[in-house]
Symmetry: C2
Subunit: 326 residues, 2 copies
C-alpha cells in the first residue's frame, strides 16, 4: 500500500486525465459493470461536523474503493479547509489495500469533472457567459471546469461575502493560467444577484448548500444549460421545481438523484419520472451523445449528486500519474 | 497521515493493550459517547468476494474511523488469507486522516478480544476445558483469548479438515509460547464432534460461518459460558434457539445482535427481548460487573456481532504503540 499526498496530486495530475477516467467510469456504470454501495453517514466531534463514507466497485478498472469525507466548519478557525477527503483503493480480486490518497484537491476535480463532462455535451458550443451561484472553494473549480470546455468570456458570480469574492477571483484567475487556459485568463469576472446571473447565462452552475430554490424558472433563457452541483442530501435544493419540470433533465445516477439530489423535489411533486431519467444519464450521454437530441431552445439541467466511482476513478488516475513519475 | 504495517503490529502490539482499548471503547459505547454508522456491503470481482465498510465514532479517544474488510476465498489459491482488513483513523475534530492501518492481525485480536472480555466476566474462574467449534484462522485467536483469561488445560476442537487441524494445533501452541503463556503451553488439544466438545466444555466458543444451529440445548452443562463469535449477517446461526432462550444472554450491541448476530433467531421467535438485552451489554458488564449476578448453574451466552469501534480502538492502540517505539 502506498500513500499519495495532496501535493503530489496538485503537481502531477492534470484535469484532462481526471476527465478521461471519469468518462470511462460513467460508461462502465451505464453498462452495468459497476456497483454503488450504501452511503454511511455520521457526525464527528465539534459543531456541525458531518462525516460520510461512500464506497463502490468501479468496473472500468476494475477496483473497489471508498472515500471518507468530512465537512467540519470549525476548521476555518484553524486556518484549514472545512472539507477533507481521503480515498482508499482496494484490489478488486484480493481485497488488498493498494493506495490511500489524500483527496482534497482530487475531490474538487472529481466533482467539477462531471460538470465539465455534462457541459461539454449539453451546453451550446459558443456559450460565452457563465453564471455561477455560490463562490466558495468548490465554485472556483466549477468555473474552471466550464472554462475548460466552453469559450467563456464573462463570469457573473453570485455571493456577497467580500473575502470570498476576492478569493474566488484570485482562485479562478491564477488557476486558469496554471491550467494553461491563457485564452481565458482575461475572462471578465463580475458579481451580481441570482436573477442577473441566471438571466444572462449561457451556462449556469449552482454550487451552494441551499435548502430552498434559488433559481426561478422565469429567469432562465431558452437554450441555457444548468449544472446543479449543490444538492447531495435530503432537503437540499437550488432550482425551482417549475424550472426542472420544464427542462430536459440528466442525472449522474437517477435513483440517487431523486433520493438526495436536486431532482428529489420535482420527482416528489410527480413532475419528473425516474423512468425518463434512466434514459438520460451522464453515462449514456458520454457513450452515445446523439441519443439525446434536442432543439437549440431547450433548457437542459444536469444534476450531480456525487458517486464513489468518481473518487475511485480519480484516485486511480492519480496513482498511475504518480507511478509514472517515480 | 502515517501507514502502519501489519508486521509492525505483530511485533509491537500486545493483546493486553488491545483488551484495555476495547474495554474503554465498550464503556464509552455504553455511556452513549460513541456512534455506530450504517454498514455498507457490496461485492468485489471474482467468486464470492464480499466487501464491507464499517464506520463509527469511538467516543473514548475520541476518533472517527472505518474498516474496509474483504472476504475473498479465491485468495487461498494465491497463497493469501481470504480476509483482508484495512482501518483508517480520522481526526474527530477536523476530519483529517491520521493513520491507515494494515489490520489483518489486528482484526484477529479485536475480534477475539471481545471474547476475552466477556469470558473474563462470565465464565467460571476455574474453567479448565475449552470447547471450540470451528478451526479456521480466527479460531486460533479465539482459543488464545480464552487461555489468556482462564486456566485452560484442555481444548476440544471441532473440525474435520486434516490440514486445518494441523494448522490449528501449531497456531495455538506457538502463539501461546510467544504470548508468554508458558503455563498453558502444555495444554492438551484434541479433536471431537460438536456434541462431545459442547458437553465437556466449561467455556464453549463457536467460530464458524454456519447458517443452521450446531450446538443443541441438551448438550450444554449448567454453568457453561458460550461465546458465539460467528454470526454477523442475516441468516447466520450457530446455536439452537432453545439454548439461547434458556440462557442469560449478553450482546456487544443489542440492536445489531438481533438484526445480524446470533440472537436474531431467538428474537424473531419471540423468546429473547431487545429490552432485556439492553440491560446486558458487554459495556455494562465491564463498567459494572456486579450488575449481572447469576447462580453458578446459569448458562451464559455472549454474542459478538462485530463493531467498528473495535477496529478504531485497536488501530488507535496500535498507532500509539508504534509511535512509542519510533
Amino acid at each position: 500500500m502506498i500513500v499519495i499526498r495532496d501535493e503530489e496530486i496538485r503537481r502531477l495530475v492534470r484535469f484532462e486525465v481526471v476527465l478521461a477516467a471519469l468518462e470511462r467510469a460513467f460508461v462502465a456504470l451505464e453498462e452495468g459493470a459497476s456497483s454503488i454501495f450504501d452511503v454511511a453517514r455520521g457526525r464527528g466531534g465539534g459543531p456541525e461536523h458531518f462525516f460520510a463514507v461512500k464506497s463502490a466497485r468501479e468496473g472500468s478498472i476494475p477496483m473497489l474503493g471508498l472515500k471518507a469525507g468530512s465537512y467540519a466548519p470549525g476548521n476555518h478557525a484553524r486556518g484549514l479547509d472545512a472539507h477533507t477527503s481521503t480515498t482508499l483503493l482496494i484490489d478488486d480480486a484480493t481485497g488488498a489495500p493498494l493506495a490511500v490518497v489524500e483527496a482534497n484537491y482530487l475531490n474538487a476535480l472529481r466533482t467539477s469533472g462531471v460538470n465539465a463532462l455534462a457541459t461539454r455535451r449539453l451546453a451550446r458550443p459558443d456559450a460565452a457567459t457563465l453564471g455561477i451561484i455560490g463562490i466558495g472553494h468548490q465554485a472556483i473549480y466549477e468555473a474552471l471546469a466550464v472554462c475548460h470546455v466552453r469559450p467563456i468570456e464573462r463570469i457573473i458570480a453570485v455571493g456577497s461575502d467580500a473575502g470570498r469574492r476576492a478569493k474566488f477571483v484570485e482562485g479562478v484567475r491564477t488557476r486558469l493560467e496554471r491550467w494553461g487556459h491563457r485564452a481565458n485568463a482575461g475572462v471578465d469576472i463580475e458579481f451580481a444577484d441570482a436573477r442577473t446571473a441566471s438571466s444572462n447565462a449561457d451556462v449556469l452552475v449552482t454550487v451552494t448548500p441551499s435548502r430552498a430554490p434559488i433559481v426561478q424558472a422565469a429567469w432562465v433563457r431558452p437554450g441555457t444549460h444548468i449544472s446543479a452541483m449543490g444538492a447531495d442530501d435530503v432537503g437540499k435544493q437550488e432550482l425551482d421545481v417549475d424550472l426542472v419540470s420544464n427542462a430536459l433533465c440528466f442525472a449522474d445516477h437517477p435513483e440517487q438523484s431523486i433520493r438526495i439530489g436536486e431532482f428529489q423535489h420535482a420527482h416528489k411533486a410527480g413532475r419528473l419520472s425516474l423512468q425518463g431519467l434512466r434514459e438520460r444519464t451522464l453515462g449514456r450521454l458520454i457513450r452515445d451523445p446523439d441519443s439525446c437530441t434536442r432543439s437549440p431552445e431547450t433548457i437542459t439541467v444536469f444534476d450531480s449528486s456525487g458517486l464513489a466511482i468518481q473518487d475511485i476513478a480519480a484516485a486511480h488516475a492519480a496513482m498511475l500519474a504518480v507511478r509514472l513519475q517515480s
